[in-house]
Symmetry: C2
Subunit: 334 residues, 2 copies
């Protein structure tokens, strides 16, 4: 493995010059620069990152810690972050906390140990409550989930508005006994709950939220319980894609059909929701924009640690499909 010394020797210059060719080429005379570049090519030299980091005391590397790597939402966000990072010569390390606060903590420590230049985090609820951004040696940007009073850059969906619109849509379709399946342990679940309650209140209706662990299994079980219980709802609104699939599974297992027997709408416009046989109404999130914006916020923060904290709020788009639209229109409200 060739080192900077070997390159210097071969080019007949000092290691300093080689280093400069690598970092500030315009500071080296063209003739010398060419010789160095040739030596680099001939030796297939690659700088030792460990040595560089040791000296510079930071790595050209950003971390993305997500709560569920399987979610298309986060893979899309990840792709956007990677695109931006790559264009700025930063490497991306992807970590999956799996909704586990201990794992999340461990990955944040990994990032500190690796001397990451910055981290984008989709925190667990517990992690968010304990989060002390200033305690970490890197700038932090939150995505998807955040608390109002946390003093840290973030980009989130207008969850409340999106849930309100989805609920209003269900009401307009004539559904009245709506149950909300809300993902537990996340701020998004709470905010979507708030928007849902808001819309119901405006219509003079009482909310019926059910809080569910954000797993497929739990989604199936909770939906099945609700459907089998007393006063079966005439519609379900589900606050994330995983639970939405679970709810649909339970609906079909119970022999019910959307939109007639039951209305259905939910967050995350995953591929399968568009299948004609399912045709599920969803709230589509601007996933790529979310990731791109988060990466940009991080880059700006890396350049200026003192700039004011920014929150970017993006809008979701309601994709109306057959699962929430009854052929016979509901009677108009008074």
């Amino acid at each position: 493995m060739a080192s900077i010394k070997d390159v210097a020797q071969r080019a007949g210059v000092s290691t300093t010059t080689v280093s400069r060719v690598l970092s500030t080429p315009q500071a080296v005379r063209a003739a010398l620069r060419t010789r160095v570049e040739q030596a680099i090519a001939e030796l297939a030299y690659r700088p030792n990152l460990a040595a560089r980091r040791l000296r510079q005391r930071r790595a050209s590397l950003v971390g993305l810690i997500v709560s569920d790597i399987r979610s298309p939402f986060f893979t899309d966000v990840g792709r956007a972050v990677e695109d931006v990072a790559y264009r700025h010569g930063l490497r991306l390390i992807l970590c999956n906390s799996d909704e586990n606060p201990a794992k999340e903590q461990s990955y944040l420590e990994l990032m500190a140990d690796e001397q990451a230049s910055g981290v984008i985090l989709s925190p667990t609820m517990q992690g968010l409550q304990q989060l002390r951004p200033e305690a970490w040696p890197f700038p932090l940007v939150l995505v998807d989930r955040a608390l109002e009073n946390t003093r840290v850059d973030r980009v989130v969906l207008d969850n409340q508005a999106a849930a309100r619109r989805a609920t209003e849509h269900l009401l307009q379709s004539g559904y009245r006994r709506i149950v909300l399946l809300a993902g537990a342990h996340s701020t998004t679940g709470q905010q979507r709950h708030a928007g849902h309650v808001q819309a119901l209140a405006a219509a003079g209706l009482t909310p019926r939220p059910v809080w569910v662990e954000p797993t497929h299994r739990a989604g199936v079980q909770a939906a099945a319980d609700v459907l089998a219980g007393p006063d079966r709802p005439d519609a379900l609104l589900v606050t994330n894609g995983v639970l939405l699939l679970g709810a649909l599974q339970a609906i079909q297992a119970a022999g019910l059909r959307t939109p007639h027997d039951i209305g259905l709408a939910g967050f995350d416009n995953n591929d399968w929701t568009a299948l004609p046989a399912l045709d599920v109404t969803t709230v589509a999130q601007p996933t790529y924009d979310i990731g791109r914006t988060a990466a940009e916020l991080l880059l700006q923060r890396m350049q200026d640690a003192t700039r004011p904290v920014r929150q970017v709020v993006l809008e979701g788009a309601l994709v109306v499909r057959g699962s929430s639209v009854r052929s016979a229109p509901a009677p108009t409200l008074p």
Copy 2:
């Protein structure tokens, strides 16, 4: 940021002793060790990984480079690899090549730059053809995709047998005009094609393979073309989960119903395939086992570079559901 010097000073020992407490605690007298450990705790000391790597010339870190981060197959594999790596004090870096040979190459170089201890790779076809395992400074284990004659450890599915069984199942259900939608640019697609052809040949039937880019869009398009073309097939077999969803989309868009109008089966037992309204017959892969085995092969190779190359072949399980079973049984073959 406290360094090993600070710890040594506080504990009244040399840096050598601190280093030993960290790596070989039993080589330090209990009394001293306790003092050092206390100093470490008081200063919240964390070793500088860059310095350690620079000295040791390798990182306690393994890479997993997958071709599609969105696939549940790879996220399951990733989880297994992470579990094993974590238990052995190794960190995992997850990379997504996105079926792009250039990205794959770039990530392999990243791993070399990071001085990774080992890499698990699901290669693109082009990457596989050019792959020179001995050219990398780390041991390599292939998952999911491999060529017979590559001299490298690997763990793969018995793709041919699985495709043969799936095809035999379709034949037993009475389907005769079967079209195979096969993912292009992958050894798995080719091997599954081979198993399919084998089963058809045994039944005296002519294969009708269609090679498709492994994206959702391309899957929809290809299936739509096949369904609208002359001599419409009576069944589709699809070699991966992404294309399977696309095929189902096209089937439903064409107003066809499984299993009567058309039979359907495919690889990857993704969550949505179990929805009663879809009920798609699939080949389930032992994803966690694949990941665990790959990680174990890598660890063994890291310990002994000279051990013979091993290939582990795992079996898939055919999950028969309604999409491929006609209510009226087919006439028995002669």
